[in-house]
């Protein structure tokens, strides 16, 4: 599987990652090499092996969450009990 720099740019957009042009070139080349190794999976005989079971869910019971002060201590920007972010609407 060959990844072009344009495809790498599209994937970076989906992944919310920032690269410069040289970074995209390098990433596309590395992804191509790694995916070429992974392409050997197409040769595997899988038969009809069943997938593993689902994770059990815990009971839907209300329990106390993390105290607000503890959340605030780690927040990059905080005001009046809320996270502050740059303006969303122009």
């Amino acid at each position: 599987m060959r990844i072009t720099p344009e495809e790498a740019k599209h994937i970076a957009e989906l992944a919310h990652l920032e690269f410069d042009d040289a970074g995209l070139q390098r990433m596309a080349a590395e992804m191509t090499k790694i995916l070429s190794y992974i392409d050997q999976l197409n040769a595997a005989e899988v038969g009809g092996a069943p997938p593993s079971g689902a994770t059990p869910l815990r009971d839907d019971v209300v329990v106390p969450g993390t105290p607000r002060e503890a959340v605030e201590r780690n927040a990059p920007a905080w005001r009046d009990g809320h996270f502050v972010v740059p303006k969303i609407i122009e």
Binding site: A15, L17, K33, L41, A44, A49, P50, R58, N74, P76
Partner: protein, 444 residues
Amino acid sequence: MNAVESLAAIERLNPRLNAFLRVNAAAVGGAPLAVKDNIVTTDMPTTCGSKILHGFTSPYDATVIVRLRKAGRTIIGKTNLDEFAMGSSTEHSAFGVTRNPWDISRVAGGSSGGSAAAVAARMVPAALGSETGGSVRQPAAFCGVVGLKPTYGRVSRWGLVAFASGLDQIGIVTSTARECAEVLGIIAGHDPNDSTSSPEPVDDYGADVDAGIKGLRFGVVREAVSKLEGDVRANFDDALRVLRGAGAIVEEASVPTIGYAIAIYYIVANAEASANLARFDGVRYGHRSKRARTVRDMYFESRGEGFGAEVKRRIMLGTFALSSGYYDAYYGRAQAVRARLRQDFAAAFQKFDFLLTPTTPEPAFKIGAKTEDPLSMYLSDIFTAPANLVGIPAIAVPSGFSGEGLPLSLQIMAPHFREKALFRAAGAFERETEYWRREPRAFL
């Protein structure tokens, strides 16, 4: 060793090894234990070896930390790791490489390189690591200590920063099987905060350490060992002789799909990582870019500045594998081959109590030897990743030394929840060989 002795050893050795990112200098009491810095603690920051968690201290302790404290263990410090546990050399830490105590020009392995180096250099008697594809066993092998990956679901991951949730499991590094069994007895068991943790009863893990292995059946995985060469080949053959000498039955086993493990792993693990690491966006904790003027820029620039190259590479690969048009061809295909691998292991365990491979295809490599070639780094986990994909427990046990004096290691795998049997096998191997008595003092 008590906490004061441990702190003194860390002060003396850590400047050369960089195994610890932080110590609790006020620690007193007995039974010190180190913790990989992707397991959260309230009394020290948690970095995951990343700049993106700058300034973060967890408001709660991980379940394993709560259990260890209750059992009287002293959390002495946080150990170095590849950023978000993504790597096999601890070279991908934002805080510098951890050096191998047996040869400081070489890597300690990874991603739990700090934990393995700390135990090998006798800075602490025990340390926690985490495993997604071999991140406890591989560094334990490189550093000549015991490394356990328990069964998926045996130990609660509440408070372990998520990498690949379908594979992640907290593991243990110690000098001997008995110490490892003791720590597992403390941290194993169901936890309502982790719905993947199993209700399976917790065994008396150390009960059979001295029971011997007479008559037990060990299968040598043919497809994994056929291409072994040099010191690793000779050492592995020696290990088989030791097991036979102790009365075990050692025969050839087959796991036909085992060679696909790394290809499966780098799709499944990265797909899950790309989703798990979406939470690091500069909003709620950690690094936020100072340049950002809009919310969109804040996401891209905070992540661009905060994540290192290997983490970005894996997020990119995972995002690709889940993207429209490629999901079935990559993620779907990888899960199908994984299901077959699980079936192949189950068939092999019909005939054998244990399966054997070396833990790693080579001893510790030189710092910088693989950083320019990600794929060659990934192949370092070729023997360890299968156990993670299948969910079974596996242990790395010191098995001697290469011609250059570097530690080598035997991997023993067992069926789900058979950790007690693993400690029995490892204990017998240790008694016959006593490699665990060798300490890397001369190199420090």
